[in-house]
Every structure is written in C-alpha cells, then in structure tokens.
C-alpha cells in the first residue's frame, strides 16, 4: 500500500475521532432491552422443541444451515452442501469458527450433536425426528462430513435447519440443568449468555469473535412479559425498546404513536377449521334442526364442506376480527415460499350458492352443529370462532360455538371428539410439512398425519406425498407437493381461513428484520 506516513497519521486520527464519537453516542445505544411474549423454558437447544426456545437458542448457537427472514436456507456452520449420491449428503464446514469458550468447531462436533439429539433425558418434545433419517455420519476430514440416509432424503438440509450444533468437549456430559444455569450454554452464535433467570429474563453479551455479521448490541436484556397489555405498556413507557407479538387491540395505538415503529411479515401459521372426516354415521356435535342425531355425517359430503367454506367471509375476519394482522388464504403457505400454489385464492363469500349446495346435498333446511375452538392459543381465536358461527348460521347451518382453554381443547381435538374445530398450524417453509402432518392419512409406522385431527384421508394425496419425500429435484418436488395440496384443498379436507402476520414494535430509532418463522432475536434489531 502506498500511503505516506503523514497520510497514515491523519487517517488514524480520523478513525480515532470517529471511534470516540461512536463510543460517546454508543454508550447508551449499545444495550438493547427487549421483551418477548412467550417464556423461554430452557437454554438446552435439544430439550424442548418450542419456538421461544429456538429463538433464544438462535442467539447462542448456530446450525449447519441457518434461515433468513423469509425462511430460506442460508449457509451457517456449513458453507455448502450437496447430494453426492441419492442418499448421501456432503457438507463442507466453515473453518476458523470457535465456540464462546475458545474451542474450535470441527466435524466431530456435528457428529456428536447428532448423537446427542435423540438422547436428551426427559425431553417432552425432542428434536429426534429431524435426525432420524440419518443412518451414518462419516467424518471425512476436520471440516467435511458425509451423511448417509436410509432413503433418498431431499428434506435433510431443511431438517438440519432445526438442529443447533454443540461442542463435543464442552457438552459431552452436559445436562439440561447446566444449560439452564448458563454454565453449559456455550455455542458459536452471535451472543454469549451472561445470566438466565428462568421464566423472567436472559442477559446476553456480544460474542466478538462471531463469524457472521456483528450484532449491533454489546449487551441484551431479553425479558419475558407474557401478558400482552403489560408488554405494550412496557414499550410505551420506555422500559423496553422492542417487543414481539403486539396484541391486536393495541395495534392501532402503536401504529399511531410517532415515537414507535412497527415491523411485520406474513408468517407461516395458517388458522383453519378441521372437520370430522372419520365418522360415516352420526358425528357427535351434528344434529338435525330438531336436535335429533343425523344418521349419516353431513361433513362426508363434498358439497356440504364446500358450502361451509364459501359461507365464510374471510376478508371480514382478517380486517375486522384480526384488525388487519392476517391475510385470507386457501392454502398453508404464503406466496414466495417453496410449494405455495399459485393462482389458488380463497373463494369469494357467497351465501346463496352455499345454500344451493346444501340443498343439493340433501340439507335444504340445513342442520345444527357445534363449532369448537381454543380461546387462549391464537390471536383472537375465540372471536374468530364466533364470527364463523354467525356466517354458518346465515346459510342455515345453525351453529353453536364453544371456545375453551387450549389445555382442555387440544386433548379433545386429538381424540377426534369434535365435529368441527378451529386450530392453527405453523409450517416449515416446505409443502411436505403440512401435507404430511395435517392432510396425509394418519399412519403410526410412517409417522404421517400425526396432527390430522379430523382424520382426513385421500389415497391420491398420500401417493403424491410418498413421491415427493424421495424426489431430490427441487422443481419436480415442488410441483408434486403443489398438486398434493391442491387435491386435498379442492376436496376441502380442511377449511383454511387466514395466515397470521407476525408483528413487532419498537422505538422509532430502531429497525428490525421481520421473520416469517416468528422467532424474536436481538441480532435482527439494529439502530436505524
């Protein structure tokens, strides 16, 4: 470089000055106070598969493949990956990465992590399913890894976006309690854990040797304020700078406040109605207009299901009940996400046609039904159920509404006790995820339809899912998955209502990269 001494001195002086100005300005700006609505229950990244835990883990640890705000795969601890044979994936790992305690990151650590994942004691919801396809992990060299799967496994990279990588040396015998105390919460991520008070707050400090983009905050105070009103109040009063899950009743006020800014993104969570497809004879909560049981289940008739779907005014629910924080949808995934079906919009509300369809199906006078739903799980869930009940009643299906706490609701829904019920589903950004869990025929051995609470079953959907799960060509797999979804949704296997918008609010001096996957993390927040 050809810089003379004097120039260099000047440059150094300018840098010094700038640094001092930054330091003076940054003294208060280096700390971020944030509040999240859902409690983080553990810092062990393999203990409990729960989005709040994954968000916190995403600040401490890295995955082989990270995801961006649009839920697209990005190189994480792996720089590249490719299928070298139909059932062998090769991962090239990033060099020069260290854990918070200085240990170097190598392929051995990945192999160790895959071993640990299915063996975390007492885990109420383990990550084991993501590594189950793996039959062999071969450490080729310190930064190359070959993963063999039982069958061709196009979803392996996607699955591995859920697995946080640990250090063999540090975590060989680490217990969940040691993670929770902060002692073992050591990763390669952008932040180190300073302290953790369970259910209350986590204090973080920046990891200055992070390989990725350097976070803007030297320290982060990550608080959990579960009550929505209290969370908004904490933001309005300046106690915190940033919150997630802005309650819809507070949205107007937050948007109207010049001191605040909002960031939002259409999420991956569909709110829909499940229907009883299982029973051919009487369904438990359906009777005729005199309260007598109906011998056959009307929901088995496609025309009835169509009538119930087109009776619903989805824009009205999205605009009024959800106060604009939802997008009406006829499918699981929003536009731009892999295997979203193009040109597949929800039907326009049409009460007259709904009545005609009911009459065609042999129910000119309609029938009575009870619509169940939770009242404390999704934003405005109890009110959505009410709205749908009124819309159904308008076409002659006299609807009683019963909303109950999630704890009681979800067990009953899982036991197929309801005729029609509201529930939500947060998808992985990949069509096989909702198809496999919600629309595929329930089958224990294949692990399909585990959340298919209405027991919808369609061999055409199943056969396409089967093909998609081993199709390595992304374009072909996407087409097959679109077809599988289209078949099930045209058959009204479920009645989709809307996709929720994820909303964060902050001081207007901050900006935030909103995420489709609902995770709230400090590295996504920067000074404006």
């Amino acid at each position: 470089m050809a810089i003379n001494t004097r120039g260099r001195k000047l440059a150094a002086g300018a840098v010094m000055g700038a640094a001092m100005a930054l330091a003076a300005h940054g003294a208060q700006a280096q700390n971020l106070n944030m509040a999240v609505g859902a409690p983080v229950t553990s810092l062990d990244p393999h203990y409990h598969q729960l989005s709040p835990n994954n968000a916190a883990a995403g600040m401490i640890f890295d995955r082989l493949i990270n995801t961006d705000g649009d839920a697209r795969m990005q190189p994480g601890l792996a720089e590249s990956w490719r299928a070298v044979e139909p059932n062998v994936w090769e991962f090239r790992l990033r060099r020069g990465v260290t854990f918070h305690n200085g240990n170097p990151f190598t392929a051995e650590d990945v192999a160790f992590t895959f071993q640990r994942v299915p063996n975390v004691p007492n885990s109420p919801s383990s990550f084991a399913a993501f590594v189950r396809p793996i039959t062999n992990v071969e450490v080729v060299d310190s930064h190359t890894l070959r993963i063999t799967t039982q069958n061709p496994s196009p979803l392996l990279p996607q699955d591995l976006t859920n697995i946080f990588i640990l250090d063999r040396e540090t975590h060989e015998n680490a217990t969940t309690e040691q993670f929770n105390s902060g002692q073992a919460a050591i990763g390669t991520g952008p932040f180190r854990v300073v302290s953790h008070t369970m259910g209350d707050r986590i204090e973080f400090a920046r990891n200055d040797s992070y390989f990725g983009t350097r976070p803007a905050w030297a320290t982060v105070n990550y608080r959990m304020i579960t009550n929505g009103g209290a969370r908004t109040a904490a933001l309005l009063s300046g106690d915190v700078d940033f919150i997630d899950q802005v309650p819809t009743p507070d949205l107007a006020r937050v948007r109207g406040d010049r001191r605040l800014a909002v960031s939002e993104k259409v999420g991956l969570r569909l709110i829909f109605l499940g229907l009883d497809h299982m029973r051919e004879d009487a369904s438990p909560f359906i009777t005729d207009n005199n309260g007598q049981p109906i011998a056959r289940n009307p929901l088995r008739d496609l025309r009835v299901r169509q009538a119930l779907s087109i009776a619903i005014d989805r824009p009205a629910i999205a605009n009024r009940v959800m106060e604009g924080s939802a997008t009406p949808s006829a499918q699981f995934l929003p536009p731009g996400v892999f295997s979203h079906i193009p040109n597949f919009a929800p039907p326009a509300p049409d009460a007259a046609r709904a009545r005609a369809l009911l009459a065609e199906a042999g129910f000119p006078e309609g029938f009575r039904i009870t619509l169940h739903g939770p009242n404390n799980r999704y934003p405005n869930d109890g009110r959505i159920v009410q709205a749908v009940g009124q819309m159904w009643t308008r076409i002659g299906v006299r609807t009683t509404v019963e909303a109950q706490p999630w704890t009681t609701f979800v067990g009953r829904a899982g036991r197929q006790e309801f005729s029609a019920f509201l529930i939500g589903w947060g998808s992985n950004p990949e069509g096989s995820h909702p198809v496999r869990n919600i629309l595929a025929t329930a089958n224990r051995d294949r692990g399909w339809g585990a959340s298919n609470r209405g027991r919808y079953s369609n061999p055409e959907v199943d056969s396409r899912l089967e093909a998609a799960l081993v199709e390595l060509d992304d374009a072909r797999r996407e087409a097959i998955l679109q077809e599988a979804q289209r078949i099930a949704l045209e058959d009204v296997g479920i009645i989709p209502l809307h996709i929720q918008t994820n909303i964060w609010a902050m001081r207007n001096t901050l900006q935030h990269e909103a995420r489709a996957d609902e995770l709230t993390r400090a590295q996504d927040v920067r000074p404006r």
């Binding site: 919801s125 109040a233 904490a234 067990g411 009953r412 585990a450």
Partner: protein, 324 residues
C-alpha cells in the same frame, strides 16, 4: 399441649395426603400434558416416546404411587417444562412473592390504619365519608383492571415507575432479593400497591369499626373523665385495643396474599410463584402444579397452627388441650 400438637400434625398430614389426591386427579382430568408440550409436528412414535419419558404411560393410580413414594423422600417430581426439581423451582421464585406479599401487607397497615382511625374518630366528617367510599372501591374494583390502570398512569403517562418486572436483585443466602436496591423498590411499588388495595380497605373498615366500638366503652369514658387529652385517649387507650383484631386479620391475610398474588404477578410480569403456577397450568406442568399446591397447603396449615398457639399464649382463656 404436646398431645394437641401431635394431633394437629397428624391432621395436617391427612390434609396434605387428601390434597395430593384431589390435585392429582384434578390435573389429570383437565387434559393431556403431552398434547400441549410436544411439538405439533412430532409424529406418533415421538409422542409415545415422550409419554413414556414423562411417566404418563402408567395408569393414574400407579403414577400417584410413584409420586407418593418420591414425595416421602422430599422429591416432588421434576417439572416437565424446565426439567428441574419442581420444589426447587418454587423455592427459587418464593423470595419475589414474599417481597410482594410483605410489601403489600406493610402498605395496607401504613395506609389503612391512619385512615381507619380518622374515619372512626370523625365518622360524620366529609373526609371519612370519602375514605369509606374509597374503601368500597378498593373492595370492588378488579385487581387486574386496577393493575393495568396503574401501569397506564404511572408508567406510560407519567413515566415515574417501571411498568413491570423485578429490577436489580442482590443475592443473599443463594436467593435473589430486590428490596435492597432503590431500583428494586421502584419496581416493587406498583405491584405491591395493587396487591394491597383490597387489604387497605379491609384494614380501614376493621379499624373504623373497632374505634367506634371502643369509643363507647367504659374505659374510654373513664379515661376522658379523668381529664386525659384526646390524643392520649386515642393512641394509648383506643389504639392499643383495636390493634388485636387488626393484627390477627392481617396475619391471616398474609397467607392468602402469598397464595393468591397470581393476578398481580401476571399483570406486572413479576417473576414470583403466582406467575409460575399460572404458566404451569397453561402447559399442564403437573409436577409443578401439585408441588405448588402442596407448598401452599403446608403454609396455611403452619400459619393456622402458629395462630392457634399464639392465641393460647396471649389469652389464657383459650385452651388447646383435647377434651378427651
């Protein structure tokens, strides 16, 4: 006395046992924790593994026997959610709740006694009418709403006090306490007042009726007739005597304040036992729910026992011996 104590302890154990059965069956009836805890995309195999891991594959009576066996060794089970001993979780949260409860009791006496005294001495004045009307509000306004209003006024509009949380803590004996820092006091003020509101009204009304009753008593008349100053009559003769019922009620209220600070803790995101129990109920974390209720029952039993013993010490007319 010894016979009485032994008897009471035996009774207490029976109550604990009965309580454990009721709670166990009750929580079992609400729903299936696995459905709530497990990730929705877990497949059926994963579900079965989780059910077995949490010991929920056994019939209820066997689960209960396992629980009982462990409880006898002082182990009330591990939280499903946190994977830590339930008792330890509760004890870790206890300082926060104790601070809140004692803060509330302190405020209720500090505010309630003088106001009640005034209202009792000058029952016809406008001031005491205002106080009495205010005490009705204190009884009838929902704690939840008052909490949110306090936050709106003092945190959001005026910006005087922090809206939620516990603030700085100091570690003593391995537990975190916030009442030793100024920041901690600022955080404590609003939730403690919120929790105290009901009790302030209670103390006002107790004091007022006590004072009004005492003023008609012969010993007060005599004191006045002796020519003692009104101040002396009030504070030495009247005040001393009305303190007994007030102290009794406040003491008993302490138990329920600790046990039922749930609403206040939720509104102010106060990380105490009440918030823990609400969060645990929401996810059906059975070991924590059961352990919490056990701790609370034990606390009530102990408080009642102490009150009974104190009575017999203070008032020789009360006899604890069993008649048999």
């Amino acid at each position: 006395m010894t016979v009485y104590l032994l008897r009471r302890i035996l009774q207490s154990l029976m109550v604990l046992l009965a309580m454990s059965v009721i709670v166990f069956v009750g929580v079992y009836a609400i729903g299936d924790p696995v459905e709530i805890l497990i990730s929705p995309d877990a497949d059926q195999m994963e579900r079965e593994r989780a059910i077995a891991a949490l010991g929920l594959d056994l019939p209820l009576w066997q689960q209960y026997l396992v629980f009982l066996q462990n409880a006898l060794r002082g182990d009330l089970g591990r939280s499903f959610v946190f994977n830590e001993p339930a008792l330890q979780l509760i004890l870790n949260r206890m300082p926060a709740t104790l601070e809140l409860a004692f803060g509330a009791m302190f405020l209720s006496v500090l505010i309630g006694l003088p106001l009640g005294l005034y209202a009792g001495l000058k029952p016809e004045s406008i001031g005491s009418r205002v106080i009495m009307a205010g005490s009705i509000l204190g009884f009838s306004l929902p704690t939840f709403w008052v909490g949110l209003m306090l936050i709106m006024v003092f945190a959001v509009q005026l910006g005087w006090l922090p809206s939620s949380g516990r603030g700085e803590t100091v570690q003593i004996l391995g537990l975190h306490w916030s009442f030793l820092t100024a920041n901690g006091w600022a955080h404590l003020a609003m939730p403690a007042f919120n929790l105290a509101l009901f009790k302030i009204s209670l103390v006002i009304r107790l004091t007022r009726s006590g004072v009004r009753e005492a003023m008609l008593m012969d010993y007060v008349k005599f004191a006045r007739a002796k020519g003692l100053s009104p101040t002396r009559v009030t504070f030495v003769h009247v005040f001393k005597n009305i303190l007994i019922p007030v102290v009794t009620v406040v003491g008993l209220e302490l138990g329920s304040t600790i046990a039922f600070s749930v609403v206040t803790e939720t509104v102010f995101a106060w990380p105490g036992m009440g918030k823990l129990i609400i969060d645990s109920i929401n996810v059906l974390d059975r070991p924590v729910i059961v352990a919490y209720l056990m701790v609370i029952v034990l606390m009530f039993i102990t408080i009642n026992l102490i009150v009974d013993i104190l009575y017999s010490v203070l008032d020789p007319r009360v006899r604890l011996e069993s008649k048999a």
